[in-house]
Symmetry: none
Subunit: 212 residues, 2 copies
DNA sequence: ATTACTAATTCACGAGTAA
DNA sequence: TTTACTCGTGAATTAGTAA
Protein backbone atom coordinates (compact mmCIF):
# COMPACT_ATOMS: atom_id res chain seq x y z
CA UNK A 1 0.00 0.00 0.00
CA UNK A 2 1.73 3.16 1.17
CA UNK A 3 5.27 2.53 2.26
CA UNK A 4 5.69 3.57 5.84
CA UNK A 5 9.23 4.83 5.43
CA UNK A 6 8.39 6.75 2.26
CA UNK A 7 5.47 8.42 4.03
CA UNK A 8 7.77 9.26 6.91
CA UNK A 9 10.25 10.91 4.57
CA UNK A 10 7.45 12.95 3.04
CA UNK A 11 6.30 13.95 6.51
CA UNK A 12 9.85 15.14 7.09
CA UNK A 13 9.68 17.19 3.90
CA UNK A 14 12.09 15.09 1.85
CA UNK A 15 9.90 15.62 -1.21
CA UNK A 16 10.53 19.36 -1.09
CA UNK A 17 14.28 19.36 -0.58
CA UNK A 18 16.96 16.90 0.53
CA UNK A 19 16.48 16.16 4.20
CA UNK A 20 19.19 15.00 6.54
CA UNK A 21 17.56 11.99 8.09
CA UNK A 22 19.51 9.11 9.60
CA UNK A 23 18.40 5.50 9.58
CA UNK A 24 18.59 5.65 13.36
CA UNK A 25 15.95 8.42 13.42
CA UNK A 26 13.68 6.53 11.07
CA UNK A 27 14.06 3.45 13.24
CA UNK A 28 13.28 5.37 16.40
CA UNK A 29 10.26 7.20 15.02
CA UNK A 30 8.76 4.22 13.24
CA UNK A 31 9.56 1.79 16.02
CA UNK A 32 11.83 -0.52 14.12
CA UNK A 33 15.50 -1.47 14.31
CA UNK A 34 18.16 0.67 12.69
CA UNK A 35 19.02 -2.34 10.55
CA UNK A 36 15.52 -2.55 9.18
CA UNK A 37 15.42 1.17 8.49
CA UNK A 38 18.70 0.87 6.63
CA UNK A 39 17.47 -2.08 4.59
CA UNK A 40 14.21 -0.31 3.74
CA UNK A 41 16.07 2.79 2.65
CA UNK A 42 18.22 0.67 0.36
CA UNK A 43 15.12 -0.97 -1.06
CA UNK A 44 13.56 2.43 -1.72
CA UNK A 45 16.70 3.50 -3.55
CA UNK A 46 16.74 0.30 -5.59
CA UNK A 47 13.15 0.83 -6.65
CA UNK A 48 13.88 4.42 -7.61
CA UNK A 49 11.69 5.97 -4.95
CA UNK A 50 14.30 7.91 -3.09
CA UNK A 51 17.78 9.16 -3.75
CA UNK A 52 20.63 9.83 -1.44
CA UNK A 53 22.59 13.00 -1.95
CA UNK A 54 25.29 14.55 0.19
CA UNK A 55 22.58 16.92 1.44
CA UNK A 56 20.34 14.09 2.56
CA UNK A 57 17.54 11.92 1.28
CA UNK A 58 15.14 13.06 -1.42
CA UNK A 59 11.90 11.50 -2.54
CA UNK A 60 11.87 11.19 -6.33
CA UNK A 61 9.20 12.75 -8.49
CA UNK A 62 8.10 9.33 -9.63
CA UNK A 63 7.50 8.14 -6.09
CA UNK A 64 5.77 11.38 -5.22
CA UNK A 65 3.41 11.09 -8.17
CA UNK A 66 2.61 7.54 -7.21
CA UNK A 67 1.97 8.55 -3.62
CA UNK A 68 -0.28 11.37 -4.72
CA UNK A 69 -2.26 9.05 -6.93
CA UNK A 70 -2.83 6.68 -4.05
CA UNK A 71 -3.76 9.42 -1.59
CA UNK A 72 -6.07 11.06 -4.13
CA UNK A 73 -7.85 7.82 -4.71
CA UNK A 74 -8.33 7.22 -1.01
CA UNK A 75 -9.42 10.80 -0.51
CA UNK A 76 -12.10 10.43 -3.14
CA UNK A 77 -13.36 7.23 -1.61
CA UNK A 78 -13.35 8.61 1.91
CA UNK A 79 -14.97 11.92 1.06
CA UNK A 80 -17.35 11.19 -1.81
CA UNK A 81 -19.30 14.34 -0.98
CA UNK A 82 -16.39 16.45 -2.14
CA UNK A 83 -17.17 15.66 -5.73
CA UNK A 84 -17.26 12.70 -8.06
CA UNK A 85 -14.70 12.86 -10.79
CA UNK A 86 -15.62 11.46 -14.15
CA UNK A 87 -13.74 11.24 -17.36
CA UNK A 88 -14.86 10.20 -20.76
CA UNK A 89 -15.29 11.17 -24.36
CA UNK A 90 -17.51 13.76 -25.94
CA UNK A 91 -20.24 12.21 -28.07
CA UNK A 92 -23.10 13.58 -30.12
CA UNK A 93 -26.52 13.64 -28.58
CA UNK A 94 -29.75 13.32 -30.48
CA UNK A 95 -30.38 17.02 -30.22
CA UNK A 96 -33.05 16.25 -27.67
CA UNK A 97 -31.28 18.04 -24.85
CA UNK A 98 -30.88 21.10 -27.03
CA UNK A 99 -34.60 21.07 -27.78
CA UNK A 100 -35.40 21.04 -24.07
CA UNK A 101 -33.01 23.86 -23.33
CA UNK A 102 -34.84 26.05 -25.81
CA UNK A 103 -38.13 25.80 -23.94
CA UNK A 104 -38.74 28.92 -21.91
CA UNK A 105 -40.23 27.09 -18.92
CA UNK A 106 -37.19 24.89 -18.52
CA UNK A 107 -34.90 27.88 -18.99
CA UNK A 108 -36.78 29.77 -16.30
CA UNK A 109 -36.81 26.88 -13.88
CA UNK A 110 -33.12 26.19 -14.39
CA UNK A 111 -32.30 29.84 -13.84
CA UNK A 112 -34.32 29.69 -10.63
CA UNK A 113 -32.76 26.50 -9.30
CA UNK A 114 -29.25 26.62 -10.63
CA UNK A 115 -28.70 30.32 -11.01
CA UNK A 116 -27.85 30.37 -14.69
CA UNK A 117 -29.69 30.42 -17.98
CA UNK A 118 -28.62 27.32 -19.88
CA UNK A 119 -27.07 27.54 -23.31
CA UNK A 120 -29.45 25.95 -25.82
CA UNK A 121 -27.55 22.72 -26.12
CA UNK A 122 -26.11 19.97 -24.00
CA UNK A 123 -22.74 18.33 -23.91
CA UNK A 124 -22.93 14.56 -23.92
CA UNK A 125 -20.03 12.65 -22.45
CA UNK A 126 -19.68 8.91 -22.63
CA UNK A 127 -18.00 8.10 -19.36
CA UNK A 128 -15.34 5.49 -18.84
CA UNK A 129 -16.70 2.06 -17.90
CA UNK A 130 -14.93 2.20 -14.53
CA UNK A 131 -16.84 5.39 -13.69
CA UNK A 132 -20.26 3.84 -14.19
CA UNK A 133 -20.32 2.53 -10.64
CA UNK A 134 -19.59 6.07 -9.44
CA UNK A 135 -22.52 7.30 -11.46
CA UNK A 136 -24.75 4.86 -9.61
CA UNK A 137 -23.44 6.08 -6.27
CA UNK A 138 -24.05 9.64 -7.41
CA UNK A 139 -27.71 8.89 -7.87
CA UNK A 140 -28.02 8.02 -4.18
CA UNK A 141 -27.48 11.70 -3.37
CA UNK A 142 -30.39 14.12 -3.33
CA UNK A 143 -30.59 15.88 -6.70
CA UNK A 144 -31.59 19.42 -7.51
CA UNK A 145 -35.00 19.15 -9.11
CA UNK A 146 -36.04 21.22 -12.10
CA UNK A 147 -39.81 21.14 -12.11
CA UNK A 148 -41.75 19.81 -15.05
CA UNK A 149 -44.80 21.51 -16.55
CA UNK A 150 -47.64 21.05 -19.00
CA UNK A 151 -47.51 22.94 -22.24
CA UNK A 152 -49.82 22.81 -25.25
CA UNK A 153 -51.41 19.62 -23.96
CA UNK A 154 -48.10 17.90 -23.55
CA UNK A 155 -46.32 16.88 -20.35
CA UNK A 156 -42.74 17.93 -19.87
CA UNK A 157 -41.19 15.88 -17.08
CA UNK A 158 -39.02 17.11 -14.29
CA UNK A 159 -35.26 17.05 -14.61
CA UNK A 160 -32.96 15.84 -11.86
CA UNK A 161 -29.57 17.46 -11.76
CA UNK A 162 -26.33 17.92 -9.92
CA UNK A 163 -23.94 20.79 -10.14
CA UNK A 164 -20.73 20.08 -11.92
CA UNK A 165 -17.59 21.80 -13.00
CA UNK A 166 -15.76 21.18 -16.25
CA UNK A 167 -12.41 22.89 -16.72
CA UNK A 168 -13.43 25.68 -14.40
CA UNK A 169 -16.87 26.23 -15.89
CA UNK A 170 -19.81 25.63 -13.56
CA UNK A 171 -22.71 23.76 -15.00
CA UNK A 172 -24.92 20.84 -14.17
CA UNK A 173 -25.38 17.22 -15.07
CA UNK A 174 -28.99 16.66 -16.04
CA UNK A 175 -31.05 13.52 -15.86
CA UNK A 176 -34.36 14.00 -17.63
CA UNK A 177 -36.75 11.61 -15.94
CA UNK A 178 -37.48 10.00 -19.28
CA UNK A 179 -33.92 9.73 -20.34
CA UNK A 180 -32.91 8.20 -23.61
CA UNK A 181 -29.35 7.74 -22.47
CA UNK A 182 -27.89 4.55 -21.13
CA UNK A 183 -25.93 4.44 -17.93
CA UNK A 184 -22.75 5.48 -19.62
CA UNK A 185 -23.69 8.85 -21.07
CA UNK A 186 -23.93 11.98 -18.96
CA UNK A 187 -25.55 15.13 -20.24
CA UNK A 188 -24.26 18.49 -19.19
CA UNK A 189 -25.70 21.99 -19.32
CA UNK A 190 -23.91 25.24 -18.63
CA UNK A 191 -24.44 28.95 -19.13
CA UNK A 192 -22.20 28.76 -22.19
CA UNK A 193 -21.65 26.60 -25.24
CA UNK A 194 -19.22 24.14 -23.73
CA UNK A 195 -18.16 22.65 -27.06
CA UNK A 196 -17.12 26.03 -28.31
CA UNK A 197 -15.81 27.42 -25.04
CA UNK A 198 -13.61 24.40 -24.34
CA UNK A 199 -12.85 23.59 -27.98
CA UNK A 200 -14.33 20.13 -27.73
CA UNK A 201 -15.25 17.92 -30.63
CA UNK A 202 -16.63 14.40 -30.83
CA UNK A 203 -14.25 11.94 -29.22
CA UNK A 204 -12.44 14.66 -27.27
CA UNK A 205 -11.36 13.23 -23.96
CA UNK A 206 -12.44 15.32 -21.02
CA UNK A 207 -12.97 15.18 -17.30
CA UNK A 208 -15.30 16.91 -14.91
CA UNK A 209 -16.38 16.88 -11.30
CA UNK A 210 -19.93 16.42 -10.11
CA UNK A 211 -20.97 17.82 -6.73
CA UNK A 212 -23.80 15.98 -5.04
CA UNK B 1 0.83 2.62 7.76
CA UNK B 2 -2.37 2.12 5.80
CA UNK B 3 -3.59 -1.43 5.77
CA UNK B 4 -3.76 -2.67 2.22
CA UNK B 5 -6.84 -4.79 2.70
CA UNK B 6 -8.70 -2.06 4.58
CA UNK B 7 -7.93 0.41 1.82
CA UNK B 8 -9.13 -2.13 -0.71
CA UNK B 9 -12.42 -2.54 1.11
CA UNK B 10 -12.87 1.22 1.16
CA UNK B 11 -12.12 1.35 -2.56
CA UNK B 12 -14.89 -1.18 -2.99
CA UNK B 13 -17.24 1.04 -1.01
CA UNK B 14 -17.47 -1.13 2.10
CA UNK B 15 -17.48 1.99 4.27
CA UNK B 16 -20.76 3.12 2.71
CA UNK B 17 -22.71 -0.10 2.89
CA UNK B 18 -21.95 -3.79 3.33
CA UNK B 19 -20.12 -5.04 0.26
CA UNK B 20 -20.13 -8.62 -0.88
CA UNK B 21 -16.43 -9.24 -1.29
CA UNK B 22 -14.85 -12.67 -1.11
CA UNK B 23 -11.40 -13.43 0.22
CA UNK B 24 -10.64 -14.87 -3.19
CA UNK B 25 -11.33 -11.50 -4.83
CA UNK B 26 -9.18 -9.67 -2.31
CA UNK B 27 -6.40 -12.16 -2.90
CA UNK B 28 -6.64 -11.80 -6.66
CA UNK B 29 -6.76 -8.01 -6.69
CA UNK B 30 -4.05 -7.51 -4.11
CA UNK B 31 -1.85 -10.27 -5.43
CA UNK B 32 -1.79 -12.47 -2.36
CA UNK B 33 -3.04 -15.94 -1.55
CA UNK B 34 -6.64 -16.56 -0.59
CA UNK B 35 -5.36 -17.85 2.74
CA UNK B 36 -3.59 -14.59 3.49
CA UNK B 37 -6.64 -12.58 2.53
CA UNK B 38 -8.74 -14.71 4.85
CA UNK B 39 -6.30 -14.31 7.72
CA UNK B 40 -6.05 -10.56 7.19
CA UNK B 41 -9.81 -10.25 7.16
CA UNK B 42 -9.95 -12.13 10.46
CA UNK B 43 -7.28 -9.84 11.89
CA UNK B 44 -9.24 -6.77 10.81
CA UNK B 45 -12.31 -8.16 12.53
CA UNK B 46 -10.34 -8.89 15.70
CA UNK B 47 -8.99 -5.35 15.79
CA UNK B 48 -12.48 -3.96 15.27
CA UNK B 49 -11.80 -2.45 11.89
CA UNK B 50 -14.31 -4.37 9.86
CA UNK B 51 -17.42 -6.38 10.53
CA UNK B 52 -18.95 -9.24 8.66
CA UNK B 53 -22.66 -9.21 8.11
CA UNK B 54 -24.80 -11.49 5.99
CA UNK B 55 -24.83 -8.67 3.44
CA UNK B 56 -21.07 -8.51 3.24
CA UNK B 57 -18.13 -6.78 4.84
CA UNK B 58 -18.40 -3.32 6.38
CA UNK B 59 -15.63 -0.99 7.47
CA UNK B 60 -16.34 0.31 10.98
CA UNK B 61 -16.59 3.98 11.80
CA UNK B 62 -13.57 3.72 14.04
CA UNK B 63 -11.39 2.34 11.27
CA UNK B 64 -12.77 4.90 8.86
CA UNK B 65 -11.94 7.77 11.19
CA UNK B 66 -8.42 6.46 11.62
CA UNK B 67 -8.01 6.10 7.89
CA UNK B 68 -9.27 9.61 7.31
CA UNK B 69 -6.82 10.99 9.82
CA UNK B 70 -3.93 9.29 8.06
CA UNK B 71 -5.05 10.33 4.60
CA UNK B 72 -5.66 13.90 5.73
CA UNK B 73 -2.18 14.11 7.13
CA UNK B 74 -0.61 12.79 3.96
CA UNK B 75 -2.79 15.08 1.88
CA UNK B 76 -1.56 18.04 3.83
CA UNK B 77 2.07 17.05 3.35
CA UNK B 78 1.66 16.30 -0.34
CA UNK B 79 -0.40 19.37 -1.20
CA UNK B 80 0.70 22.12 1.14
CA UNK B 81 -0.82 24.72 -1.17
CA UNK B 82 -4.27 23.15 -1.39
CA UNK B 83 -7.06 24.41 0.78
CA UNK B 84 -6.95 27.64 2.69
CA UNK B 85 -5.99 27.09 6.26
CA UNK B 86 -7.33 29.47 8.81
CA UNK B 87 -6.87 29.66 12.51
CA UNK B 88 -8.54 31.83 15.05
CA UNK B 89 -10.62 31.99 18.16
CA UNK B 90 -14.19 30.96 18.73
CA UNK B 91 -16.46 33.91 19.42
CA UNK B 92 -20.14 34.30 20.10
CA UNK B 93 -22.38 35.26 17.22
CA UNK B 94 -25.50 37.30 17.54
CA UNK B 95 -27.63 34.21 17.18
CA UNK B 96 -28.51 35.36 13.70
CA UNK B 97 -26.90 32.38 12.01
CA UNK B 98 -28.75 30.03 14.30
CA UNK B 99 -32.02 31.71 13.39
CA UNK B 100 -31.34 31.19 9.70
CA UNK B 101 -30.42 27.56 10.18
CA UNK B 102 -33.79 26.94 11.77
CA UNK B 103 -35.69 28.01 8.67
CA UNK B 104 -36.89 25.01 6.73
CA UNK B 105 -36.21 26.54 3.31
CA UNK B 106 -32.57 27.18 4.13
CA UNK B 107 -32.25 23.74 5.68
CA UNK B 108 -33.70 22.15 2.56
CA UNK B 109 -31.55 24.18 0.22
CA UNK B 110 -28.42 23.45 2.20
CA UNK B 111 -29.20 19.75 2.25
CA UNK B 112 -29.69 19.94 -1.49
CA UNK B 113 -26.53 21.88 -2.23
CA UNK B 114 -24.13 20.66 0.41
CA UNK B 115 -25.51 17.24 1.16
CA UNK B 116 -26.10 17.69 4.87
CA UNK B 117 -28.79 19.14 7.07
CA UNK B 118 -27.19 21.91 9.09
CA UNK B 119 -27.28 21.91 12.86
CA UNK B 120 -29.39 24.84 14.03
CA UNK B 121 -26.48 27.02 14.96
CA UNK B 122 -23.28 28.40 13.54
CA UNK B 123 -19.76 28.51 14.84
CA UNK B 124 -18.21 31.93 14.59
CA UNK B 125 -14.46 32.14 14.44
CA UNK B 126 -12.52 35.36 14.60
CA UNK B 127 -9.60 34.62 12.33
CA UNK B 128 -6.05 35.74 12.90
CA UNK B 129 -5.23 39.10 11.31
CA UNK B 130 -2.67 37.46 9.02
CA UNK B 131 -5.39 35.21 7.60
CA UNK B 132 -7.63 38.07 6.50
CA UNK B 133 -5.82 38.38 3.20
CA UNK B 134 -6.40 34.68 2.61
CA UNK B 135 -10.10 35.28 3.21
CA UNK B 136 -10.11 37.89 0.46
CA UNK B 137 -8.39 35.50 -1.92
CA UNK B 138 -10.96 32.87 -1.04
CA UNK B 139 -13.75 35.12 -2.23
CA UNK B 140 -12.25 35.16 -5.73
CA UNK B 141 -13.24 31.49 -6.09
CA UNK B 142 -16.71 30.50 -7.27
CA UNK B 143 -18.88 29.81 -4.24
CA UNK B 144 -21.62 27.27 -3.77
CA UNK B 145 -24.86 29.24 -3.76
CA UNK B 146 -27.71 28.51 -1.37
CA UNK B 147 -30.77 30.02 -2.95
CA UNK B 148 -32.77 32.67 -1.17
CA UNK B 149 -36.55 32.75 -1.03
CA UNK B 150 -39.49 34.87 -0.04
CA UNK B 151 -41.41 33.87 3.04
CA UNK B 152 -44.29 35.63 4.78
CA UNK B 153 -43.67 38.76 2.76
CA UNK B 154 -40.04 38.88 3.74
CA UNK B 155 -37.02 38.33 1.52
CA UNK B 156 -34.41 35.87 2.66
CA UNK B 157 -31.24 36.40 0.69
CA UNK B 158 -29.02 33.79 -0.84
CA UNK B 159 -26.03 32.45 1.02
CA UNK B 160 -22.62 31.99 -0.55
CA UNK B 161 -20.57 29.19 0.87
CA UNK B 162 -17.47 27.07 0.60
CA UNK B 163 -16.93 23.62 1.93
CA UNK B 164 -14.63 23.39 4.90
CA UNK B 165 -13.29 20.89 7.34
CA UNK B 166 -12.67 21.44 11.02
CA UNK B 167 -10.91 18.68 12.95
CA UNK B 168 -12.15 16.07 10.54
CA UNK B 169 -15.75 17.29 10.45
CA UNK B 170 -17.00 18.46 7.08
CA UNK B 171 -19.02 21.61 7.02
CA UNK B 172 -19.17 24.89 5.19
CA UNK B 173 -18.21 28.50 5.64
CA UNK B 174 -21.25 30.65 4.97
CA UNK B 175 -21.42 34.21 3.77
CA UNK B 176 -24.97 35.51 3.97
CA UNK B 177 -25.21 38.19 1.32
CA UNK B 178 -26.25 40.72 3.94
CA UNK B 179 -23.64 39.76 6.43
CA UNK B 180 -23.29 41.49 9.72
CA UNK B 181 -19.80 40.19 10.21
CA UNK B 182 -16.67 42.10 9.49
CA UNK B 183 -13.85 40.69 7.44
CA UNK B 184 -12.34 38.90 10.37
CA UNK B 185 -15.17 36.63 11.44
CA UNK B 186 -16.03 33.47 9.56
CA UNK B 187 -19.25 31.62 10.17
CA UNK B 188 -19.38 27.89 9.92
CA UNK B 189 -22.19 25.38 9.58
CA UNK B 190 -21.97 21.62 9.87
CA UNK B 191 -24.26 18.64 10.27
CA UNK B 192 -23.48 18.63 13.99
CA UNK B 193 -23.15 21.04 16.87
CA UNK B 194 -19.51 21.92 16.44
CA UNK B 195 -19.18 23.59 19.83
CA UNK B 196 -20.34 20.47 21.56
CA UNK B 197 -18.74 17.96 19.22
CA UNK B 198 -15.32 19.60 19.40
CA UNK B 199 -15.68 20.85 22.98
CA UNK B 200 -15.18 24.46 21.98
CA UNK B 201 -16.00 27.45 24.11
CA UNK B 202 -15.55 31.17 23.56
CA UNK B 203 -11.91 32.02 23.02
CA UNK B 204 -10.99 28.42 22.16
CA UNK B 205 -8.25 28.48 19.59
CA UNK B 206 -9.03 26.39 16.54
CA UNK B 207 -8.05 25.87 12.95
CA UNK B 208 -9.87 24.74 9.86
CA UNK B 209 -9.41 24.38 6.12
CA UNK B 210 -11.62 25.89 3.46
CA UNK B 211 -11.85 24.25 0.03
CA UNK B 212 -12.62 26.60 -2.83
C1' DA C 1 -18.50 -22.26 -5.09
C1' DT C 2 -17.02 -20.43 -0.28
C1' DT C 3 -13.79 -19.91 4.38
C1' DA C 4 -10.22 -21.06 7.36
C1' DC C 5 -7.49 -24.65 9.55
C1' DT C 6 -2.60 -26.96 9.90
C1' DA C 7 1.86 -27.62 8.28
C1' DA C 8 5.70 -26.37 5.43
C1' DT C 9 8.30 -22.68 3.72
C1' DT C 10 9.99 -18.28 2.92
C1' DC C 11 11.33 -14.06 3.99
C1' DA C 12 11.48 -10.11 7.11
C1' DC C 13 13.47 -8.74 11.31
C1' DG C 14 16.95 -7.46 14.67
C1' DA C 15 21.44 -8.77 17.15
C1' DG C 16 26.04 -8.52 16.52
C1' DT C 17 29.48 -6.25 14.33
C1' DA C 18 32.73 -4.28 10.72
C1' DA C 19 33.88 -0.40 8.23
C1' DT D 1 29.11 9.01 15.36
C1' DT D 2 27.25 6.86 10.95
C1' DT D 3 25.64 2.69 7.47
C1' DA D 4 25.04 -1.87 6.15
C1' DC D 5 26.78 -6.51 6.20
C1' DT D 6 25.85 -11.66 7.93
C1' DC D 7 23.14 -14.80 10.22
C1' DG D 8 19.94 -17.01 13.52
C1' DT D 9 15.17 -16.62 14.80
C1' DG D 10 10.48 -16.19 14.26
C1' DA D 11 6.66 -14.11 12.15
C1' DA D 12 4.17 -13.99 7.85
C1' DT D 13 2.82 -16.41 3.87
C1' DT D 14 1.28 -20.15 1.03
C1' DA D 15 0.02 -25.09 -0.11
C1' DG D 16 -2.89 -28.52 0.92
C1' DT D 17 -7.20 -29.57 2.47
C1' DA D 18 -11.49 -30.00 5.36
C1' DA D 19 -15.83 -28.24 6.18
Amino acid sequence: MIDEVLAYLVRRGAHLEPAKITTREIAYDLDMSQQTASRKAIELIKSGKIERTPEGMVVTGKALAELKRTVDELQKMLYPELGFEFSGKVVSGLGEGARFMKIQQYKDNIKKQLGFVPYAGTLNVKINPEDVEKRLRLKTHPPIIINGFRLAGKDFGKILCYRCKIRGIQGAIVFPVRSTHGLNVLEMIAPVNLRKELSLTDQSWTEFVVYP
